[in-house]
Amino acid sequence: MNLTNQQKNICEHVVNVFETGSAEGNYGAIAIFPDGPHGMRQVTYGRSQTTEYGNLEALIQMYVAKKGTFSKQLQEYLPQIGVTPLVHDVAFQRILKEAGNKDPIMRQVQDTFFDKRYYQPALDWADKNGFTLALSALVIYDSFVHSGSILDFLRKRFSERTPKTGGNEKAWIQQYVDARQNWLAHHDNKTLRGTIYRTQTFSREIARNNWDLALLPINAHGVMVNA
């Protein structure tokens, strides 16, 4: 799948809006959730959120190697990340927040890191299954960021095959968006229903035939994305 730089930027900015409310994203975002091993609380950090017991160590290692403004301070924490709980370490969290908000090197590192974590796997999946259109890339990338992958149980809810196996690309994307919309809008847990603005955005772009993402701006949950 060959996307232009502008198409890639649009994909990233639209998803950034869904995640953080701004097209640029929130690189200093910190949250604590009890979703670590055995229900332990853990620090979640960055533009697309990586976790203390997940890939935070890898992200900080990359940042330290790039010699960012806060590299020395964060280097001291490397042996502890994923070993000693840091949810109560206010100093650690303050440094992470400052690095994300103030240091352009942390922003570059996060862009590279989250590109590898979400964007590249999404595009690999798209390539492997024969997708070529920019709007398809946006829908697939969003599914990787929001749900971690293309959800198998949703694929079983519609009949269209992937382009690789003889299906129609536009029909597949439309049906996947509909299945996801239907799943979220009628979820047993009402809290999840509030996330349908993502699929509503895609349905709007499909309706105006914006398959190459050339019709700008795109209204992403009230924020106008131009590129």
Binding site: E19, H146, S147, G194
Partner: protein
């Protein structure tokens, strides 16, 4: 640093209170009524912290349109889950105070098992593994499970209704 120390003190205090309850140093229900104002009472009379208003405010804010971005939704949902957990903790301590030594041991064992099961069930409810929706799926399930347990313990806390009290 100070926050760390405060958290450690809170944990120690919580453990001390529970071990006092279990070991019987704190009054059993029978003697609790008699000694509710004595040195051994666990909860001072008229001290009844409430998180209801905070919970209602957060719930109302989570329903405003347009819906906030994912990271904000995740935070609000987790805050609500934490409030429910704190409410459960309060009711659990209140209930412990009403029980005799044998019943306290039984409730502690029951609660430990329930906590393990809650962690398992909340994790099992996550379908978006590795995605930003996962914390929301987790905290929403966590809240729902906790809410059920809260109702269950509240029911046990209320005194058995006699024909007179029913009037």
């Amino acid at each position: 640093m100070n926050k760390n120390r405060t958290e450690t003190l809170k944990i120690l205090l919580r453990r001390l209170l529970l071990s006092l309850l279990i070991s019987g140093y704190l009054p059993s229900p029978a003697s609790a009524r008699e000694h509710s104002q004595s040195v051994g009472a666990l909860i001072p009379k008229h001290w009844s912290p409430s998180l209801d208003q905070l919970k209602e405010t957060l719930e109302a804010s989570s329903k405003t349109e347009p819906q906030p971005p994912q990271q904000a939704m995740n935070l609000t949902s987790q805050n609500l889950a934490d409030i429910r957990d704190a409410q459960l903790f309060i009711v659990y301590v209140q209930l412990m105070q009403k029980l005799n030594l044998r019943e306290r041991k039984k409730l502690l064992k029951e609660q430990i098992l329930w906590l393990e099961k809650r962690a398992e069930s909340a994790s099992a409810s996550v379908t978006s593994k590795g995605g930003s929706l996962a914390p929301l799926e987790h905290s929403a399930a966590f809240s729902e499970i906790t809410e059920k347990r809260l109702k269950e313990l509240l029911k046990r806390l209320q005194p058995a209704q006699t024909p007179e009290t029913r009037k």
